[in-house]
Amino acid sequence: MSIGQTTKHRTLGLTDEQVVHMYRNMLTARKFDERCLLLQRAGKIPFHVSGIGQEAAQVGAAFALEHGRDFFLPYYRDYAFVLSVGMTLKDLMLAAFTKAEDPNSGGRQMPGHFSHKRLGIVTGSSPVSTQVPHAVGIALAGKMKRQSFVSFTTYGEGSSNQGDVHEGMNFAGVHKLPVIFMCENNQYAISVPLHKQVAGRIVDRALGYGFPGVRVDGTNVLEVYEAVKEARERALRGDGPTLIEAVMYRIAPHSTSDDDMLYRTKEEVEYHRERDPVSMMKQYLLDSGLWSEAQDEALQAEIKREMNEATQYGDLAPYPKPEDTLTHVYADEREDRDQWL
């Protein structure tokens, strides 16, 4: 690796601490994923959808955004993203164990359906791509109220074919809204490979909406960081949306219910596992002289400790009460109405 490459983060304005922090978040997300797969197999949690292979893009994007100001509309694989904008392992474990204290939904939704108002994480659902117009609406509101922030949303390449993506992007393009659309193109939509899913190139769709499309290597955290940072600057300058296509590979099966060997080969998966973004990031740190194997072991141990704590906390936390089923269909009469009036 050349010197240029090993200090790329500095040329992007990232400190050494930040880039280590990026790695830490990627690793934490990876370990969370691995833990959940174990917990699911052990019957301790019902279900898990994994983000393995997508951590680089998620962390790169999160570091380019402003926490406490920007709005985030992530999709179900974005563990590394939400961990990087303030969600904790405990929060995620509470969701995995579907417990009352889960800040995402109070144990109502499947895990991976992120929500945390204080952190700017907007509640998401399962039907894919519905969040895209929401991101546009938040950006519109910000523009109307002359607030300086962006809204950032992600979705898979399969999901990019939903009508809502088209309608949302066109709306954002017409009004030059501060939105960043990031498609995490991981080559599969469950079993359907890219070429049966998407005609043309996703990145080229931006042209038709009059704003730039950028294709980046989604396994390279710094490349994604740079693209999102530029997109954010454009948005804040009033120059409108950006579409980022982050190309990557879904290393794990679609979910704990999926047998991916029905539609792809071990060899194909192995090929990509060797290009694992977390390992590549570690290598970058090692090559830059910012990291050592000893530090890595210490970090792994620390994450493990945290993970155990979070797991235990999630496991032992109480469930909602059965009658909670009936709450929050509508506002409590006094509550919000008075707030707004």
Binding site: T130, V132, H134, I138, M144, N170, F171, R337
Partner: protein
């Protein structure tokens, strides 16, 4: 109290709420020029084109963008140009707006209003006449409103805009210019969830909403001349239904006629009849009756089919008389 049209009531509700708070804005197709049905006429001149926003022709985006803005804290009022064109937005309404509070365990909420001009005016044919309320009725998390006169229309629309939850607001197009009535000069709201007795009576009870309330009132005048008195309950809010008011009105006379323009099977009237069958069986003196549109896709364009399809004062009177004489 000024006497104004139903359309003016709706327009002035938006006007006043927009003046009251900078969070309120309207968006939709052609709303800038005043809307194709004139509901937003004059608002752009007053509040600017940002707050009376012409959108691209894409209903799912109109609702989806409104939802995003509402989650941010705005109070968007989204216009569907015709209720017949609400269906591209179904996913945003049912999967999103209706479930945002519940799924986030009360962390987020979605105070949008979706205005949908519905019902037949004559000459609208299959796709400019529909009553789609039953599609959304029965989706918990949504509120659904369908006023029958200017007072209720204005008061309910203001209540809807101030409501912290999503409200589908169905405006019967034939009421727009066809129904006028007194409306207070000062600020008021009509609470969502409360039905209203529009006429007191002893012999039969008519339960309805929207235009058919007006037909029932006219038919009741005629029926009174024939010696029967009709009690008329206007549901006003379809969801949540005002169950106590329904049961009270039904038990008042023991003879219930339910009327709506929407087709009969699976309509709101079915739920009203079911509630009565569950709660008031022994108070009934006649089987429950329904006068509704026939179970066909929608109204035809040509006049004979249109007349056959649509409710009218005469059809209403026939049914009311039959029930009174039962």
């Amino acid at each position: 109290m000024a006497v104004i049209t139903y359309l003016e009531a709706i327009r002035s509700a938006m006007d006043e709420e927009m003046a009251r708070s900078g969070d309120v804005f309207v968006l939709g197709e052609d709303v800038g020029k005043g809307g194709v049905l004139n509901a937003t006429k004059g608002l752009r001149d007053k509040f600017g084109e940002d707050r009376v926003l012409d959108t691209p022709l894409a209903e799912s985006a109109i609702v989806g963008v409104a939802i995003g803005a509402a989650m941010y804290g705005m109070r968007p009022v989204a216009e569907m140009q015709f209720a017949d064109f609400i269906f591209p937005a179904t996913n945003q309404i049912i999967s999103e707006a209706a479930k945002i509070r519940y799924r986030s365990n009360n962390d987020w909420n979605c105070p949008i209003v979706i205005r949908a001009p519905y019902g037949a005016t004559g000459g609208g044919a299959l796709y400019h006449s529909q009553c789609p309320e039953s599609v959304f009725f029965g989706t918990p998390g949504l509120k659904i409103v369908a006023p029958s006169n200017p007072y209720d229309a204005k008061g309910l629309l203001k209540a809807a805009i101030r409501d912290p939850d999503p409200v589908l607001f169905f405006e019967h197009k034939k009421c727009y210019l066809g129904v006028t009535g007194p409306v207070p000069d000062e600020d008021y709201i009509v609470p969502i969830g409360k039905a209203d007795v529009k006429r007191e009576g002893r012999d039969i009870t008519v339960i309805s909403y929207g235009l058919t309330v007006q037909y029932a009132l006219q038919a009741a005048e005629q029926l009174a001349k024939e010696g029967y008195s009709a009690h008329i309950l206007d549901l006003r809010t379809l969801q949540p239904l005002d169950v106590p008011a329904i049961l009270e009105a039904a038990s008042r006379t023991g003879k219930v006629l339910i009327a709506h323009e929407d087709n009969k099977t699976g309509g709101v009237g079915a739920e009203v009849a079911a509630l009565i069958a569950e709660e008031l069986l022994y108070d009934l003196d006649a089987p429950v009756m329904r006068v509704c549109g026939p179970d066909v896709p929608a109204v035809g364009m040509n006049p004979p089919m249109e007349k056959f399809f649509l409710p009218s004062v005469d059809k209403m009177l026939d049914a009311m008389r039959k029930l009174a004489q039962y």
